[in-house]
Symmetry: C2
Subunit: 335 residues, 2 copies
Amino acid sequence: MSKNLGNNTIFFEKGPSIISSASVVGKMEGDGPLSNFFDMVENDQYFGQSTWEKAESELCKRTVNTALKKANLSFSDIDFAVSGDLLNQCIGSTFGMRDSDTAYLGIFGACSTMAEGLFISSVLVDSGAANYVISSSGSHFCSSERQFRQPLEYGGQRPQTSQWTVTGGGSIILGKNASPPYITHATVGKIIDKNITDTNNMGSAMAPAFCDTILSHFKATNRSVDYYDLIVSGDLGYVGSMIAKDLLKENGLDISKKYNDCGLMIFDRQKQDVHSGGSGCGCGASVLSGYILHQMREKKLNKVLFVATGALMSQTSSFQGESIPSVAHAIAIEN
Amino acid sequence: MSKNLGNNTIFFEKGPSIISSASVVGKMEGDGPLSNFFDMVENDQYFGQSTWEKAESELCKRTVNTALKKANLSFSDIDFAVSGDLLNQCIGSTFGMRDSDTAYLGIFGACSTMAEGLFISSVLVDSGAANYVISSSGSHFCSSERQFRQPLEYGGQRPQTSQWTVTGGGSIILGKNASPPYITHATVGKIIDKNITDTNNMGSAMAPAFCDTILSHFKATNRSVDYYDLIVSGDLGYVGSMIAKDLLKENGLDISKKYNDCGLMIFDRQKQDVHSGGSGCGCGASVLSGYILHQMREKKLNKVLFVATGALMSQTSSFQGESIPSVAHAIAIEN
């Protein structure tokens, strides 16, 4: 059974177990500092397909298949697949999963998708509805650029606040408590909109949502920052991370000693010229599924709070002058 | 606790209760046969906003606020909001819910969204994670036409197999078992793709997914068609409904005596010139939240299987020559 601790925070009494995780990334991510922790680095940006959107579906397919293989499971063992991405109507996921022959739940949380998927999967396992659930998310630089910004051929100049959409994805299989790491708590975020309208400055738009969720999580759990070995945001990037730390300090919470951001971890920001860092559904998903869970299995990290943030606007809403509503979900993972 | 009966079917032991439901529709839906069952008919297609997308968000806001009012609850009583729609990045829902100050889970299941939302909400309530969850979905004819088809001003001719996207939405609040109707079972669909590529013939693309879910549901529950007073598809329309009935007959299941389709119920197909009938996230959502649940409260219907179907393609995937993957989720609602 799950227990609601207030402040949108759920405690999973049985602690669904992370059975397996897999990450697949593109060439640029493979050239970054976390290179050794990904299961697969694909140098062909088309992933052997004819379009970037089909490449993104192929990426999704590879992450889930790799996670299944690592767990020695097949789709017939899986009760539910929970997946989502940034593409219109989430076609990265739906086309990636269409041959899975598994009950499918599509979700949309922009770059918060991996955390939302882990929350829904945890409830499914903890409630007794499922033995195994696979959740996945991914993104592709080229399909995102042409959908949200400009055709790549246009060669538009990127402002320093902008982030670089990660070509990558992650997939995690949850099951009844077998062995650590476990998911012990989740804090589900509210939509927070502080009237940021600049789509080249997503970190600023998402930072307040991150702070709201972090404050709710610590209030509900009575934990201190020191409890965790790592508090990691999905992809606030350099600008958003600075704002987030400042906002939390104003609220009496200093997370700086334990804090990092997947968007800062996946690239060498200066050398790889990605301005404010990485972003996209696949950023948090691949860093969690690759690096972080590897460190947890090695006991180099034992208590991690993974907080994926999402910017919930579309190109249409921005064209219509709207600001960027954001959300952040926190998942506590413990050995 | 929830119990997995196999065949992707969950039995909710405590049977989450439908506390309240609300439906809001546009003028054309208000002129249709179900007119008296909707909570609100808005004659202004802009819903007082400056764009159709903002109108869709306003529609979402009105359905959730009406459902809350009817239940004598406010957002502060609600643990989670689960919502989704057809617009790119689900902006109908995210902008509609951004002032709710409630933990938010965005979902994407195209026109199956209402059923997916009810399933996730049921698990949240049944698992103990939530006391109250609100789920909602909606669609708008004008925003859908311009996103998926052509600018309205173009006046393109619609083939007879095409369906008319409903301007409308529905919202349902679930809580711990207080009084009927209850949600007793859910069958979550797999993605089914039978290689239909014609986006003006969605009913044909979705009918096989409907059949797959129906067959799984009856296999898992050992129920017969006669058990239900009504088996209702979300929006297969005239063409899809005919195909679905035929496909099920080929599989030894005759549902024709108990079967109807929300897309056929919401419009007078001939008089209102909607060709194959209604469709869109808001079709099943408003017919369920309005007409069907009204009949259940009046005990004119006591056992209903609501099966919402979704076509999971995007404009991009269709432009790239892809077929239409579909999904259908079944929710058993009983007094």
